[in-house]
Point group: C2
Chain length 308, copies 2
């Protein structure tokens, strides 16, 4: 375990420096950890390199000699490539290293990576996050972890530089499963919220006062307080991209099927988001579900707001 040593003597490989990964890696860099960074499009690593990180040409090179290797990329296929591909992390990982995938990805893939890491005398954690780009920048992420307790404890000092709520939920895959539960909770909140807003608008209610009043009671939710006001203002920017939410729901549905679970609400919301994406909404924020819901009834009130 390298965690009791000084940051300066602990090398961290970092794969994926997008809107989430870049600020997360920067927190480690600022704390003194030498970084070896790789990103598919090199440009996104430049700022870290300018501040002292070593630029790498592959995940394998980033992992080379590193004590920790973090990854946060796009889709499960990207995760698979980054770990198992010909220039993947597992081709160079050193014994005793800890691999941490922070992508929201498949629980079963997390189990595969953990097994492959073990075969190399390394350990792996799955540690997806919530809190978005703002949470990443402000080091206030919620980090949901699966994997060996020993690896979790060793990584905690680094997690604490990136997140505020950090919890281990079990062995390999448990972090991903927890993130899936988080997303399933949100699917329900979102469809209720959007259907309620369409109903309320159609009934001629003053929606601003309605949101204020109803958020004091049993209908309250984070989304009611944070996303509903954006809808009223015609702000359907991400926040969290529709196409990423669709990815997450797809993973949850596949895992549910594997576990023999019937989840009709999740399936319905997934379909409604697919409809939104099919009509050009994939790069909007998740609150744009409202546009797909009103469109079911031939309405365009919120879509009109969106244009202004």
């Amino acid at each position: 375990m390298p965690s009791h040593e000084k940051p300066e003597s602990i090398t961290v490989g970092w794969v994926g420096t997008g809107v989430m990964g870049a600020p997360m890696a920067a927190h480690l860099q600022k704390a003194g950890y030498p970084l070896r960074v790789y990103n598919r499009s090199r440009a996104k690593t430049e700022k870290l390199i300018a501040q002292g990180a070593t630029g790498c040409d592959s995940p394998a090179e980033a992992a080379q000699g590193s004590n920790f290797v973090f990854s946060i990329v796009g889709f499960p296929a990207d995760v698979r490539e980054v770990y198992f591909g010909p220039a993947g992390i597992l081709s160079t990982v050193r014994p005793g290293a800890i691999l941490v995938d922070m992508t929201t990805s498949e629980p079963t893939l997390a189990v595969e990576i953990a097994q492959a890491a073990e075969d190399k005398q390394a350990m792996a954690l799955d540690a997806p996050v919530s809190g978005g780009d703002v949470g990443a920048r402000e080091a206030r992420l919620c980090i949901m972890v699966g994997g060996p307790q020993e690896a979790f404890e060793a990584t905690l000092p680094l997690f604490r530089l990136m997140g505020k709520t950090i919890q281990r939920f079990g062995g390999p895959g448990a972090g991903q499963h927890t993130k899936m539960v988080n997303q399933v909770f949100i699917t329900g909140v979102m469809i209720g919220l959007c259907e309620g807003l369409v109903y309320g608008h159609r009934a001629g209610l003053p929606l601003e006062e309605l949101i204020q009043t109803l958020s004091t009671g049993a209908a309250n939710s984070w989304s009611l307080q944070n996303l509903a006001p954006r809808c009223l203002a015609g702000n359907f920017e991400p926040g969290f991209f529709v196409e990423h939410f669709i990815k997450d729901m797809g993973i949850a549905l596949a895992e549910a099927k594997r576990m023999n679970l019937s989840l009709p609400g999740l399936a319905l919301v997934h379909q409604m988001y697919l409809s939104l994406q099919a009509q050009g909404g994939g790069r909007k924020g998740t609150q744009a579900l409202l546009l797909a819901i009103e469109r079911l009834s031939g309405l365009e009130h919120f879509a009109e707001l969106d244009k202004h």
Copy 2:
């Protein structure tokens, strides 16, 4: 307007002294308003009568000579009977009186009552509440009001004795519509919550820690914080009865149909609650949706907890 007078000189008719109505009426009584009370089963008025209220044999008798008449009964059919029946409030209401229906009922019926009141030189408000029996006892209800501004202002001193958040949302029916939006918001939260808990249990996650962690982020809701822990403890007692929630969803669906709105999430959740009721869960609390959701997959984990 009688509102600037002393409570002692303002007679209040009160129809419906059930688990909600009795404590609400008691707050007015305590503030000095003389009460004329009626309830279908007389026994539930006895405590108020012992403390000075006049017992009545019909809604008409409760309304006789009253400055305000409040009603809070069960179903829209009960509201119709209480107002329009042969011994109904509208048969005796005096000119200048204000009628306040606090039942969660049909917006269209609220409009009918308002029109009928106007024909008698009276005014009517629809003012359904949220906050449950605890909110009623502690005078912390949320009161959602529709009807004339003038009647709203005149009734405010009395509402303030029963509720904490009091807001008018428009003309007749607007209070009921707002309550419907509240319930639609909750339908979504509930199905997401229950599907997420079933997934989480099936995936072997520690649900108590999961609830604690996820309620710090974007998946947070009142239900996650208040109802999910009851589910884990096998506590499916009401709170809010499944059969009453089914009534409310039925009203919302009928109003949505009337307004030409397609609300597939609401329709699905309504069906799942009907399934729960069909299997004996009508008198449980709304969090018992969890039992119907796990049953879809042939699971009885939470049902087993319920037995203990």
